[in-house]
């Protein structure tokens, strides 16, 4: 009996110790994660078996990670409290069931969701049709490009023929967008304030990429015309910047030449006093 009581006390002590250790690990992990500016979800999940840690690895290569959108941005929960991070009371949503995926992503991507829901893809939601993650993936969502429309991906559900037509219709405008993006990046690297241009291009690109979600070739062709018009406006600004840069180079060369000339004249002038 006495032995039983001692064993009981030992067991209680052990549980208390384990609980303390668990809380310590969780809170120290949380503190570490907070120091790094990342939510506690990442700190815990990164150390878990592959099934639970893989989303973290995938997310790190995503456009969401690039723009500081963490787990809680989509899944909710408390990113600062490891113990209650996944508590529904703190707004944790978990992973949505398939028919709920568009609404899940659409909390932020409203325009794209509306286009998708009105499309042939959206009308098949819950009936075997694709959702956002079918084409974009879930955790490793990358910047949308025409590469997403490819035979391998589309052929999982239907023939590639129609998708190829849409891709072809979008190709010219997409090429222009990529080229303009490249030019803006060059100006940004040399210190030009490109914020306004970047925003303008983002808005145009977003409208253009939203178009695909309609899965309507005629609409893509029709809308591409005004999108090209908007891109032309950005190109005109970039051309002006190019022109100013060229003029600045010439002016710089002229100033250097002038200074060299002044130095030469001064040298000759000094020699007249020798």
């Amino acid at each position: 009996m006495k032995y039983g009581k001692t064993a009981m006390k030992l067991r209680v002590g052990l549980y208390a110790l384990l609980s303390l250790a668990f809380v310590t690990v969780i809170t120290s992990s949380a503190a570490f994660a907070q120091e790094n500016g990342e939510p506690v979800c990442i700190e815990c999940h990164a150390k878990m078996p592959e099934k639970y840690s893989e989303p973290v690895k995938l997310w790190r290569g995503s456009i969401h990670a690039e723009n500081g959108i963490y787990c809680n941005g989509c899944h909710g929960g408390d990113p600062k409290d490891a113990v209650n991070a996944m508590s529904p009371a703190r707004g944790f949503l978990g992973a949505p069931k398939e028919p709920a995926i568009p609404a899940f992503c659409g909390r932020c991507h409203v325009g794209v969701m509306n286009d998708y829901l009105a499309s042939a893809h959206g009308r098949m939601l819950g009936k075997g049709g694709p959702t956002c993650v079918t084409c974009h993936g879930n955790h490793q969502v990358v910047k949308a490009s025409l590469d997403l429309i490819n035979e391998k991906s589309c052929s999982r559900c239907h023939s590639y023929e129609r998708a190829a037509l849409i891709r072809d219709a979008m190709k010219e405008t997409e090429t222009t967008i990529v080229a303009i993006d490249g030019r803006i990046s060059v100006f940004k690297k040399i210190g030009t304030d490109t914020d306004k241009l970047e925003k303008e291009l983002f808005a145009v690109r977003n409208s253009f990429h939203s178009l695909f979600h309609n899965v309507n070739v005629e609409l893509v062709k029709k809308e591409s015309a005004w999108i090209q018009g908007d891109l032309k406006k950005i190109r005109v600004v970039l051309d002006k910047l190019d022109d100013a840069r060229q003029k600045r180079k010439i002016a710089g060369a002229a100033v250097v030449s002038l200074m060299l000339l002044i130095a030469l004249v001064l040298h000759l002038l000094r020699k007249t006093f020798d």
Binding site: R107, H109, V110, V112, A254, L268
Partner: protein, 140 residues
């Protein structure tokens, strides 16, 4: 000696000329910076018939090369804003039923006063100056 003196005078004139050009080269950018801008950003006023903007509705239009919106709140107050979302530059939409602006790109919400009510926009919508005269709204 004479030759040295005339050379010195000639070089002095050259130096004066070059100095004047250098001074002009330094002054020109300073003048350009201080002089009033060409006004391309503010040029062009847009006139809209006040009756075209009904109570609780919004009218989008082009202003200074960008999208703008005139909104008449329920109650009659009129506002003019740039329709460019302050987050990443998408064009906001007017949600008549909710009486607010929605950015379709990342779900930024603005009240009918242009104030951010939800989502990622860092700043309110930019207000545009306007005047109402003889049944017309002049923006700009």
């Amino acid at each position: 000696m004479d030759s040295n003196s005339s050379r010195r005078t000639f070089l002095g004139i050259c130096l004066g000329g070059l100095g004047a050009i250098a001074a002009a080269a330094v002054s020109w950018p300073l003048f350009r910076y201080l002089a009033p801008g060409s006004g391309s950003e503010t040029a062009g006023k847009v006139v809209i018939a006040a009756a075209d903007v009904r109570e609780g509705e919004a009218k989008f239009f082009e202003f200074a090369g960008s999208s703008a919106v005139l909104v008449r709140k329920r109650g009659g107050d009129l506002f003019a804003f740039s329709a460019v979302c302050t987050h990443l530059g998408c064009i906001v939409q007017w949600e008549k039923d909710k009486q607010d602006f929605l950015c379709p790109c990342h779900a930024g919400h603005y009240s009918s006063d242009g104030v951010v009510t939800a989502g990622p926009p860092p700043k309110p919508l930019k207000k545009l100056p306007f005047a109402v005269t003889a049944g017309n709204v002049t923006v700009g």
